[in-house]
Symmetry: C2
Subunit: 123 residues, 2 copies
DNA sequence: TCAATAGTTCATATTTCCCGAACTATTGAA
DNA sequence: TTCAATAGTTCGGGAAATATGAACTATTGA
């Protein structure tokens, strides 16, 4: 099993970061890791929203976030300890990750509202 | 020839916007349109950086930016008039596009420096 | 009416992505 | 130590998304 790759932020093209966040599952995972910036095992994301994510897919998603310099993953016994690298990224690209995480939250809130409305009108 | 689509910002998933910007050519085009927020024809981007972009590819790129709600394209005679929709996006997701455009600029500056260094060391 | 210019659409070859199956690594128990 | 359980990774191949040449459309100016 090859070692995990954690690139220097300076070596990550901006597009790679944006690509990593340009997926509903990954941006949700990332926003979650940022919010409660303590450990987060991979398997705690086997369901994201309503969706079930297969283990192998999840592993790929974490790899993409990792190699985009957005998170750091360390083994802690049998499971993984994932933390965000926000501070490092922020030093290079100020405010970007915060703005994206914030946007994600805004979108979630907007969705919450519309699904609540749908429920109340029996749709 | 079917009419161009300009969705409401509220109808564009955040991921679609990020996806649109997660490409080196598109983020360069977008940053340029934002910077000098006057007209920018499509064909003014037939070369981006060092790269030659085929016309058909460029057309796809503009379509993706447009349908992600990031730009507005209007016909002006024989060519296209592209403007950013930053203000509208900003109303929903404050600061996000500015932070990304800024990040792109920072990356460009960093690259400028390293290529200058390479040139000076005869590489 | 025609040629020139700017962009779009279509077809398809290529690339990327998803996910089941098999594998690896760590731990705790027998 | 061996074994079972748990957490994650890797691999392979089918599905989906991209890139681009060729053909097309729309507008203008001669």
């Amino acid at each position: 099993m090859r070692p995990l790759i954690h690139p220097e932020i300076a070596d990550v093209p901006l597009e790679l970061m944006l690509h990593a966040l340009a997926d509903p599952v990954r941006v949700a995972i990332f926003a979650d890791i940022v919010k409660q910036d303590c450990s987060q095992s991979c398997s705690s994301f086997l369901t994201v929203g309503e969706k079930q994510i297969p283990k192998s897919t999840l592993s790929q998603h974490f790899k993409i976030l990792r190699e985009a310099g957005l998170i750091r993953s360390e083994r802690r016994g049998v499971e993984m300890h994932n933390t965000s690298r926000c501070a490092e990224v922020d030093a290079r690209y100020p405010g970007m990750l915060a703005a994206i995480a914030n946007a994600h939250q805004i979108q979630m809130n907007a969705r919450e509202k519309t699904t609540a409305k749908k429920r109340s009108t029996r749709r």
